[in-house]
Symmetry: C2
Subunit: 464 residues, 2 copies
């Protein structure tokens, strides 16, 4: 494909995306495709000769589109908001067009420096603790997902507690990690991957609002110390995936400081809310955290993947993950004057992801992002009110932001049927969770295009 051909087909793809944005509400939100239905329409072997871009685009429309679940629909209320926005798509396009590697500063200085810069902007935007700024001992890096951030945090905690010996010698004792049962599954996965073992993840009790109980945390740590194992890390959550619960960071942080444990705060779901001063209560006590992450690809209008991960002591992270083979050595690295982000993450290679976040922040402005987030929270509170005022339903959980858990009074089967009916209608998509042994519906409000009318319509569908 020549640059001229790229120009022509690129314009068509841009038009295709713009049309998709305009028409996204016309598709059933949840794909109604059956297992195998997409594959059976694809030829068994790859083409030997080039095919026209026409035929590819036509197959996208005919074959793939029925198999797409429309995460960008304003009627998408499932899992978590997974936003894109015009500026973020443009940033992703340019990143693909430049095709640079950000593994070392030298492999594209702009890729590294823009990332460090935008991460510092984020500290200001969310009013995060200064210790996460790159100007001190800390700093931020873009990861693919919060799962990877949590893994990096647990690895750094594992190393710090072992005086950076496990990295070389392997896990040589029983280490223990603490999180509530409401924490994200990635905590369990990180315990498995890191060689700590899921059996050494202690499940801290939660209160009646699914928040970690700091007293129980403290007790568990004492018990573990007495039994001779090594407490290493606590993962607290700001906005659990299930119900949006916010763990009490202040008390958890004080336990961690006293016990010398690494505190990682996973705010993947809700961290974005802190862009509004009135919602910063979610981060109260964050000063004690050794690491923190939240996902602009969830609620900050930046297309997946874009997780912002901050550490207070970047050397702990770098000592944990650094590898320097001869073929990556260079003067800039050796001078110590630059950041090489390859030492801040699991993979070596990395895309220019700061570009899309920079495009979003500049195109929307901090106030523009704030307005959308504020509106989503308003809609969340409105929806919670509707649930409360309808005697046929009960409000199960609402931490005051954009995720509401509720159920129809009746059996789990009734609620499962309700969910199936909603999702099969194609008009909305919601998912569920379990709370206190009950099947519960989740309403997550955070797509860029979601307005009051969409939420109102969803409530009508739920209640009729």
């Amino acid at each position: 494909m020549t640059p001229e051909e790229f120009r022509r087909e690129g314009h068509r793809v841009v038009d295709w995306i713009a049309n998709y944005m305009e028409n996204v509400e016309r598709y059933p939100v949840l794909s109604q495709s059956q297992p195998g239905q997409i594959r059976e329409q694809l030829p068994p072997s790859p083409p030997a000769r080039p095919e026209s871009f026409d035929s590819i685009l036509s197959d996208v429309d005919e074959i793939l589109m029925p198999g797409i679940t429309h995460w960008q629909s304003p009627n998408f209320f499932a899992f978590f908001p997974a936003n894109h926005s015009g500026p973020s798509i443009l940033g992703e396009m340019m990143s693909a067009g430049l095709g640079v590697q950000g593994m070392l500063w030298m492999t594209s200085p702009a890729c590294t420096e823009l990332e460090t810069h935008v991460m510092d902007w984020i500290v200001e935007m969310l009013d995060l603790p200064d210790r996460f700024l790159s100007s001190g001992d800390g700093g931020g890096v873009i990861q693919d997902t919060a799962s990877s951030s949590t893994l990096c945090a647990i690895l750094a905690a594992r190393e710090r507690v072992s005086e950076y010996r496990i990295r070389e010698h392997g896990v040589d004792r029983t280490l223990v990690v603490y999180a509530s049962g409401e924490s994200h599954s990635s905590v369990e996965k990180a315990c498995a991957i890191s060689g700590i073992g899921t059996g050494n993840l202690r499940i801290v009790n939660v209160d009646d609002q699914q928040r970690m109980d700091p007293q129980h945390l403290s007790e568990l740590i004492q018990q573990d110390r007495e039994s001779g194992v090594t407490p290493c890390c606590v993962v607290a959550t700001v906005g659990t995936t299930s119900t949006g619960a916010v763990d009490p960071l202040e008390k958890i942080g004080s336990v961690c400081r006293q016990e010398g444990l690494w505190l990682h705060v996973d705010a993947a779901m809700m961290g974005t809310a802190a862009i509004c001063p009135e919602f910063r209560f979610i981060h109260q006590g964050l000063e004690s955290a050794d690491s923190y992450c939240f996902n602009p690809h969830k609620w900050m209008f930046t297309n997946f993947d874009c997780d912002c991960f901050f550490v207070a002591d970047r050397n702990a992270l770098i000592r944990t993950l650094s590898i320097l083979p001869e073929y990556l050595k260079n003067q800039a690295t050796q001078s110590g004057a630059v950041i090489d982000y390859r030492d801040w993450q699991i993979p070596l290679g990395r895309r220019f992801r700061a570009l899309k976040l920079w495009f979003v922040i500049r195109s929307m402005g901090v106030e523009g992002i704030r307005e959308r987030v504020r509106e989503h929270v308003r809609l969340g509170r409105l929806f919670a009110e509707w649930v409360k005022q309808d005697s046929r339903f009960e409000l199960i959980a609402h931490a005051g932001l954009n995720l509401i858990c509720f159920r129809k009074r009746g059996s789990d089967a009734d609620n499962r049927n309700l969910l199936d009916r909603l999702n099969q209608s194609g008009q909305v998509y919601l998912t569920h969770t379990q709370t206190n042994g009950q099947f519960v519906l989740r309403m997550s409000i955070g797509q860029l295009g979601t307005e009051e009318a969409h939420v109102r319509r969803a409530w009508e569908l739920i209640t009729t």
Copy 2:
């Protein structure tokens, strides 16, 4: 940004990329930017109000472009080829525009089914062993990088050897992994991450062409068994990063079969060559591998990130990485009729990456890809011939494909100066490695736009 505004700005970004493609040779290949030079031009705080897309594009040109190292230049001969191509950028654009999550089959059936389908195509295109096909017990998945694939392979090996106990109980004995000193740094990193420990990575000797010595491998395993530790995994390389060496898979595989060890083959650099039947010698013996990966984002004209990872026993991988919290449960998963790729990787979320690979294969056709790869290999052999015939230089390593290691007769300092001179000229970009204690230049030929004239010009610059 409305869909109409996106359409307008999107056309501009496409034109920007097309212009960049046309003019990429005008930029110095290696950025000549100094540490901090980009950042100091950026405002310390994010904008409160929206900024125009004009001002953003203008900052890209003025501030960022001097800090870009041009990986897409046909004069880029550093590290590894890191190609994009028109169709791959279009695929990435559409993936960003659709903005779907591929973590579960249900979260977008087309995303999962196209991926499984294209991975099966790849098995046919590269003539990989049938055991990697999804129709049997195996299957393929797209990972971000080979580092992640190697980590997944080592984790699965760790679990298989422990009867899937370590995942739960933690590393509870000394496990040992084997690779040559020429293997990629990600093997060491994976040993660190997995809790095995880099000290338990045994370095297998290489022969005079930097290929793993299977006899030495066998001896190390015997020694380890006798000392009571647990051999677990061998990582062999098809095309080492330093010199492109190809480990003897057949003999290594027979050791692994005999010893019951997991064999992972890392063909990140060179696997693409197997699209040409005449280069399939690199994969001789691959039938014994438990897992295999190669990178279309290196030499198959598909922009980063796109690593293809195959396993012979997908259940071993899934048992290692699977996590199923309530909020991800759904009928399709429970039916067992679908693949949920979240269980095949470290993160939970995933982009629709199959789209760009599908676009590339269809737009270029298998024959089109073959022609480019064949031409790169021809240029590699031509360059090696020039080195051999010039008495001022010596050929250090060339495995017959597209990576040539050579040096000027003289001191390391002479060669370092030569490399600095070349890279500071901005006309080409090469990197170096160490072989047998010597500083050696690497010439990696594989960018989509690289023609004989570019290679010839590089040789002129090197020799004058």
